[in-house]
């Protein structure tokens, strides 16, 4: 099936991004197509390559970049990103900044859209 995922919260602060990641990887293992992950609200902070994570913790941004490497579209909402100091200069590999139209497309084209938020 075609899955899309909406992430509404920032990394580490809330578990939402962790849960979304676990869900996405489990769905990919089951050969579902992930047509996109949309990062909204504080979710945009997941895309910052400036995050400097201790070796004994998971690196949330890097995990998402690895998902992106497998061909999943990681879309960061531009309006939400601007408010939180996220721009192209700080974007980790695999993420792209775009508009809410992309979320609309995901809503229309997916069989399932799952929201992870707080």
């Amino acid at each position: 099936m075609k899955f899309a995922v909406l992430v509404q919260e920032g990394p580490y602060h809330h578990q939402s991004s962790d849960s979304a990641y676990q869900f996405v990887t489990a769905a990919m293992d089951k050969r579902h197509e992930i047509i996109g992950v949309f990062f909204y609200h504080d979710g945009v902070i997941n895309s910052s390559k400036l995050a400097d994570i201790q070796a004994d913790d998971r690196n949330i941004t890097k995990r998402w970049s690895e998902v992106g490497e497998k061909g999943v579209d990681l879309v960061v909402c531009i309006a939400a990103a601007k408010r939180r100091g996220i721009n192209d200069d700080v974007l980790a590999p695999g993420f792209r900044i775009s508009g809410l139209g992309q979320l609309t497309e995901m809503a229309i084209k997916s069989d399932r859209l799952v929201t992870f938020g707080a």
Partner: protein, 121 residues
């Protein structure tokens, strides 16, 4: 699935205390341009999002509640509100900047089941 998706925004959070309601509205305005079957449901503290008489001047925060009035211009005319959420908060239709259709919980449950996608904000 038909060419048109049924997309419902479930506004559940109070405005101003957190940004969900405001950024949710921004999403609604964009989706309005995509000619889908878009509706808005106000439940729980989300009913406060359309409260009349908001004045955010002293806080310097953007007063977005009146913006819900422009939805009609975006061809988003399906606005619903949960009766129990209104009642328990002492609110009536006169309190709102728009005039949503008042539904009971059974009607809302049914409406939610009919959607293709639900966006909670």
């Amino acid at each position: 699935m038909s060419d048109v998706s049924k997309i419902m925004f479930v506004m559940r959070k109070a405005p101003y205390g957190t940004i969900y309601s405001f950024e949710g509205l921004e999403t609604v305005l964009i989706m309005g341009a995509y000619e889908q079957d878009v509706s808005l449901l106000f439940v729980d503290d989300g009913v406060y999002s359309i409260k009349k008489g908001t004045d955010t001047t002293p806080l310097g925060i953007k007063n977005f509640s009146p913006t819900f009035r422009v939805l009609e211009g975006y061809d988003i005319e399906k606005l619903y509100i949960d009766k129990e959420s209104m009642d328990s908060r002492g609110l009536t239709l006169d309190d709102f900047v728009v005039e949503p259709e008042v539904l009971d919980k059974e009607q809302i449950a049914k409406l939610m089941e009919e959607q293709d996608v639900l966006f909670p904000f």
